[in-house]
Each structure stands twice: as structure tokens, then as C-alpha cells.
Amino acid sequence: MRRTLVLAVTQFVLWAIVAEVNHLLTDFHVFLFVGALYVVFAALLQPFRSGFASAIIGGLICDAHAPAELFGLHAFLFAAAHVSVFHLRDRIPRDDGTARVVVALLTNLALFLVFSFTQIHHSPAPGAAWPRLFADLVCSQVFVAVVASWFSALQSRVLFLTGLDREAFA
């Protein structure tokens, strides 16, 4: 429970930073999607239960700011991504920082595409919407590549400071 709360606090920090960056990027009509960052660290390095719960909390934070009819979609997708990464984590060199970034990029790509396919039918011209989504995806992937290591280190550090790091590799 404590571990889940600590992870959730770091997710609030991530949400606040990304929301502010997205606010500043609206002039350029660019949007950053960083869904994988809510999932990957916990899925690779944390026990299943707390990681799963934190992925759902991260999803609910994002859902609270999405249109009401989508409530639960982020949470479900993040939970599904967490389960998938957790299932594969023994086959991934998860202690290697580069591997974590690669997993984050692949997870973000998958989440973005699934989310886009669930939303594209709202657009009056789906064909015209894809170039924008592609540009958003490219910018998001660059952002995730830059930020993933920092966010992973932040979560590790916070877990260490709260005395939970000894259980981190359980």
C-alpha cells in the first residue's frame, strides 16, 4: 500500500510536468503522450500488486482530464500494458537503463496507437487526422526517450528515501 502511494505521488509529479509542457506547446498544436512512463518502471522493477495498482492510479489521473465518456480507458490500457511488460520482464535486461528506455518507447508506441484507434472515429476526417497524430507520436517518443531515465531514477530515489528500496527487487 505504501509503495503504491509513493509511486502514485511520483506519477502526480509526472502528470503536473507533462500537463505544463503540453499547455506551453498548444501554440504549436503539438501534444505529448507519455503513458508508458506511468507503467514501465513499476512493471519492470516492482512487485506485481503495487505496480498494477499504481498503473491504475496513473491511468485514473489521466482519465480525470479526458472527456467523461472515456473514463476508465487510460486505466485499463495502462493496466494491460503493465501486465504485458510484467509478463515479459524476466526476458528483458531490466537493470540496464537503455533497455528500460527501449521498453518505455515500445510501450508508449503501443499505447498511443491503441488509444488513437479508439478515438479516430470521432474525427470528421480520419485521414486528415493521422498526420497530426503521427507528429504527436514522434514528439512524444523523443520526449519519452529523454525523460524515461530521469523519471525512473526519480522513482527509485523516492522509494529509497521512503525506506522501500530494499523490497524493490523482490
Partner: protein
């Protein structure tokens, strides 16, 4: 071996169970959870917004007295021209009221103007929303029209304690009836095409065949007043392209929206004085 396989599938079983529980939760509980998470993040949104305002204030403090005097002079000139417009507007309002009573026409909805700062802009390829710094505490109702100097911004989609969420007209979810300026036949407008590094745009449908608009001769699209949400005559955008729709009975085309929608810092909510 079967135990190991069962152990490996446990996360997927947990995911399935979580999904089943989620589907069984009543709508009221989901609404409560959503509102709770929104209110939990609201202080972050508000603090960031006030910090930006403070930053802007200190930025403005760096302006020299000479610049301020020049700005004051320009404002005085602008005020003088607005004074004249206000006088003309009062006369026109009186004329409308006289005609309404003569012809026994239903009067237009009256509004209270509630100005609000934009706390956060959220413009993805999937939706376009802003969060404003006024909510239930200022009596903002759901569905209220929101405008700015360039015309229509959108409508209030959610109201929270201290904030409200506005769905922009560039959002694919927004559909409303508009008319071409000087024409009375309603046409359908929908937002939703928001290219990167370009102005937002929307689409129009059911445009009568005799209306001609292109890049060289664009037509202004304004609100029709139908449906009772938006007052008539507010600018939605400019129709820059029209082509025959597949049924050949109407035209469909593209509407360029105001570029300033992407950098809004203050908007006005029209709060109906006598909501039905």
C-alpha cells in the same frame, strides 16, 4: 509445470478481474472517482496558472514608463471609439425591444458575462479542451457558451468546485448549427481537424448549393442562434473551401478557425440569466 503456467497467467487473470469489477461499478461511483481525481489535481493546475500570471506580471514590470504612457494613450483612443459603439448599441437594443413588443416576438436569452482566466490548455489530436479558473463558485452552468474577442471558443462541458472545463469548437466532439453571414439557412459545423504547426479547422456540411466560398473569397461562418445555446451572430470561423457532397444536394467544406484559439489566456463565459 502446470503450476508454473498458472502462476504466469495470474497477472492476466488479475487484469480480467479488474476489468470485470470496473464494468460492474455503478455510474455514480465512477463519476465520484472521476471528480475526486480531478479535484485532487486541481490545486496543481491552479498553482501553475497563478505562477504563470505572476511571471507575466513581473515581465510587465520591466516595461519602461514611456511604453506605459504610449499604451495608455492608445487605450484612451480605443475607449473613445468604444464609447461611441456603446451609445449606438444602446439605441439598437431599444429598437429591438420595441420591435419585439410590437411583433410579439420571443426575446433572446439574456446573459451575464463572466470573465475567466485559462488555467490549462489541453489540445491533443483526440480532443481540445481548456480548464478555466471559475467553476461552481461563480455559478458557471454546464453547457454555457464561451467566447473571446475572436468569436466562439466552445461550451462548458464540466463544472467543478473552482474550475470548469470548456470543450473547444476545434474539438471533434463539438457540433453546432451555423449560418453564412448574411444568410439565414442553417448549416452543420463540426470541429476536429487540427494540423501540427497550423491553425485549427473544422468542417461544414449541408451548405446550400448557391453559396460560393474559396480561399480568395472566404465567407464568414457565424452562430445561427438555433438550439438556444449560442446567441446568433458570433464568429465561428471562415469557410475557405466548398465542394459538392456525394449526394449532390448540398455542399461540404472546410472552415478555418481563429489561430488565437491555441494561445487563449482569458475567455468570457455567457451565463444565461433566466435558464429554462
Amino acid at each position: 509445470m502446470p503450476f508454473k503456467r498458472l502462476d504466469q497467467s495470474r497477472p492476466f487473470v488479475t487484469l480480467g478481474l479488474a476489468l470485470a469489477v470496473w464494468l460492474l461499478i455503478p455510474i455514480g461511483v465512477k463519476t465520484f472517482i472521476r471528480a475526486s481525481f480531478f479535484e485532487l489535481t486541481a490545486p496543481i493546475t491552479m498553482t501553475a496558472s497563478y505562477a504563470r500570471d505572476l511571471q507575466e506580471y513581473w515581465g510587465l514590470r520591466l516595461h519602461s514608463n514611456r511604453e506605459l504612457i504610449e499604451a495608455g494613450r492608445d487605450l484612451a483612443r480605443l475607449n473613445a471609439s468604444y464609447e461611441l459603439s456603446v451609445q449606438q448599441n444602446s439605441e439598437l437594443q431599444a429598437e429591438i425591444a420595441r420591435l419585439e413588443s410590437l411583433l410579439r416576438l420571443p426575446s433572446f436569452t439574456e446573459y451575464r458575462y463572466e470573465h475567466a482566466r485559462v488555467a490549462r490548455r489541453d489540445f491533443s489530436g483526440w480532443w481540445q479542451r481548456i480548464v478555466i479558473r471559475k467553476g461552481r463558485n461563480f455559478g458557471i452552468p454546464v453547457g454555457a457558451p464561451v467566447i473571446f474577442t475572436g468569436g466562439v471558443v466552445g461550451r462548458v462541458s464540466e463544472v467543478h468546485g473552482l474550475t470548469a472545463v470548456v470543450e473547444l469548437i476545434s474539438s471533434p466532439e463539438v457540433r453546432l448549427a451555423g449560418v453564412v453571414e448574411g444568410d439565414s439557412r442553417p448549416i452543420s459545423f463540426q470541429g476536429g481537424i487540427n494540423p501540427t504547426f497550423g491553425p485549427p479547422s473544422g468542417v461544414v456540411e449541408f451548405v446550400p448549393l448557391d453559396i460560393v466560398a474559396n480561399r480568395n473569397f472566404p465567407k464568414r461562418l457565424v452562430t445561427s442562434g438555433l438550439g438556444g445555446v449560442f446567441p446568433p451572430g458570433l464568429t465561428l470561423g471562415v469557410i475557405t473551401r466548398l465542394e459538392l457532397s456525394p449526394d449532390a444536394l448540398f455542399q461540404a467544406g472546410e472552415v478555418k478557425l481563429d489561430e488565437r484559439l491555441g494561445s487563449l489566456t482569458e475567455v468570457t463565459v455567457l451565463v444565461p440569466l433566466n435558464p429554462e
